[in-house]
């Protein structure tokens, strides 16, 4: 659950991360931008970027080729006695 009190370092999963002034300043500028009164354009944009229902790819699993699976396993950070070792589970 995302609590209101979540800090940016927790939200970003980066130890000690803080907001930077330069990014704050950059975002301040956006407040001065004038938007048009007619936001119906928004729907045209969404329509132009959306994928037609008829065009959606079939919702079915596709088996990866053997070479691809081999490389995925090779990329796993830790292995012990033929098993892939995951990090500790969430305790809370």
């Amino acid at each position: 659950m995302m609590g209101k009190e979540m800090t940016l370092d927790v939200l970003s999963s980066i130890k000690g991360a803080k907001a930077s002034k330069v990014v704050d300043d950059l975002f301040e500028v956006i407040k001065t931008g004038q938007i048009s009164d007619n936001q119906t354009d928004e729907y045209q944009l969404i329509a132009s970027m959306a994928v037609d229902v008829e065009d959606l790819r079939a919702d079915e699993p596709i088996q990866s080729p053997a070479k691809e699976r081999e490389l995925i396993i090779e990329n796993f950070p830790k292995e012990k006695n033929g098993f892939l070792v995951v990090s500790k589970v969430i305790e809370e």
Partner: protein, 467 residues
């Protein structure tokens, strides 16, 4: 300049050179790595492929135009079995499990990948200094930056280490380094080339595109890579850019627009301004109609782009936590493992963008910044649709300033962000934009309406013929 692809193809067919000779020569240059443009040189596989081409020629078999042509790949694309690091510590030993669609099409056409090219980490930068492989230096002056984020790709093309390279452009990352290194670079219409196998930075503006020394080579490579791919649902089928579009010039009376907010400003370097205005005058003398257009303030464009790009990259890079791939540093518990791993293995600029993105998306900020950015983006798209009813092409400088010195950008991120002022708007609009090494010291950008790439080639040809 004539097509380097066609020239080399002819030499191979005529047996003036062997493919192995060509590949060996370019590998030797890349291995010297004088500009830090190469992350991984693909020596073994490139020589094996070159031998196959030579055997084919020796057997009297015909070869395709791209067969045996050496090229480079920005190190954010997957090429099965090779390292794909995104110039980060995180993925320095990550091996691509599969090959990106755009790259696969080039392999199918017979082109030979030589190198995974240095770039800003995960595309986060405008100078190719935000990389764990050492800052890329400009092809023409090593005290200057290569531009970014596809800096290594532009330098390799400019130095002839590759015949062409494949860059990635989210907010200017092909166009700006192309301008800085005086080569051609194209960001096609969003969706014209599949993004499958390109590591996502900001998915809604990420584009695959070619960098080359000639317009004709951009055309050849673009035509091979374009097309619908079921693995990228935003991709679409499109017509090839014809030789006619490449070889003709704009008819007299063609309306060419430029944005007043980009030109009538103190923020634009005086030399670039003068060169740009001189180009407009030449076009006018050739009978073109120059149309001044209004646009959003450049700083608002930059702010809008970064609000959205940071939000998207924060989401896209959330998957990098050391669990399934990349490096992992174990902490006391799972959350600790995530945060230490991410803290140690992302660069400072990448962390700045992830944190900025989470800030934009968090409660209290999202309405004020993220939603406002989306509204501004809609306005930009609507404006392009309107502008291109009136003009055929919009012309602009690539950047407001000349190529910066190495070491200045990362110290001053705001200056780096603002240097993208002239490229990000076209990314937000999803429109095709071509950098040509003409007109100003940092080149010119030509932009057309969506799916009108052919117009860009005709306009570039017109500019090349100006006296």
């Amino acid at each position: 300049m004539e097509s380097q692809i066609k020239a080399l193809h002819q030499k191979l067919v005529n047996k003036e050179l062997t493919c192995t000779q060509v590949v060996k020569e370019k590998l030797a240059e890349l291995n010297k790595n004088l500009h830090h443009s190469a992350n991984y040189v693909l020596e073994e596989s490139a020589l094996a492929l070159a031998k196959k081409v030579d055997d084919k020629i020796a057997n009297g078999e015909k070869i395709n135009l791209l067969e045996g042509i050496p090229f480079g790949i920005k190190d954010v694309y997957l090429l099965q079995g090779t390292y794909s690091s995104a110039s980060s510590y995180f993925l320095r030993k990550y091996k691509s499990p599969y090959t990106a669609t755009a790259i696969q099409k080039l392999l199918d056409a017979g082109a030979i990948p030589l190198v995974k090219e240095n770039c800003d980490s995960f595309g986060h930068g405008s100078s190719s200094e935000n990389t764990v492989f050492g800052a890329v230096t400009n092809a023409h002056d090593t005290s200057l930056v290569a531009g970014g984020s596809s800096g290594g790709s532009a330098v390799n093309v400019a130095k002839d280490y590759t015949i062409f390279s494949i860059g990635g452009d989210t907010g200017g990352s092909i166009r700006q380094p192309a301008g800085y290194n005086k080569v051609f670079g194209l960001k096609p219409t969003y969706g014209k080339i599949s993004r499958y196998g390109l590591m996502a930075y900001a998915s809604s503006t990420d584009c695959v595109g070619p960098i080359a020394k000639s317009l004709e080579d951009i055309q050849i490579v673009l035509n091979v890579m374009s097309g619908k791919d079921w693995r990228d649902q935003t991709s679409f089928d499109s017509e090839k850019v014809s030789d006619e579009a490449l070889n003709s010039t704009l008819p007299k009376g063609t309306k060419i627009g430029y944005y007043k907010t980009f030109i009538d400003t103190e923020a634009l370097n005086a030399d670039i301004k003068a060169e740009f205005k001189a180009t407009l005058a030449k076009l006018e003398a050739e009978g073109m109609q120059i149309v001044p257009l209004d646009f959003l303030d450049a700083n608002v464009l930059v702010s809008t782009y970064y609000a959205l790009a940071m939000a998207e990259t924060a989401s896209n890079l959330a998957r990098l936590d050391g669990t399934n791939y990349g490096v992992r540093t174990e902490g006391e518990n799972l959350k600790d493992t995530y945060s230490i791993t991410r803290s140690e293995n992302f660069t400072e600029e990448t962390k700045r963008r992830i944190v900025g993105g989470n800030q934009v998306l968090s409660q209290g900020h999202s309405e004020e910044i993220y939603l406002k950015a989306q509204q501004l983006r809609n306005k930009i798209s609507a404006q392009f649709a309107e502008d291109f009813k009136n003009v055929s092409v919009i012309i602009s400088p690539v950047t407001p300033n000349k190529v910066p010195k190495i070491g200045t950008n990362l110290k001053d991120p705001m200056t780096m962000y603002l240097s993208d002022a002239y490229t990000v708007g076209f990314s937000l609009g999803g429109v095709p934009t071509l950098t040509v090494p003409l007109g100003t010291e940092v080149g010119l950008q030509l932009t057309a309406a969506k799916k009108q790439e052919a117009t860009l080639f005709t306009c570039a040809n017109t500019l090349a013929k100006l006296k």
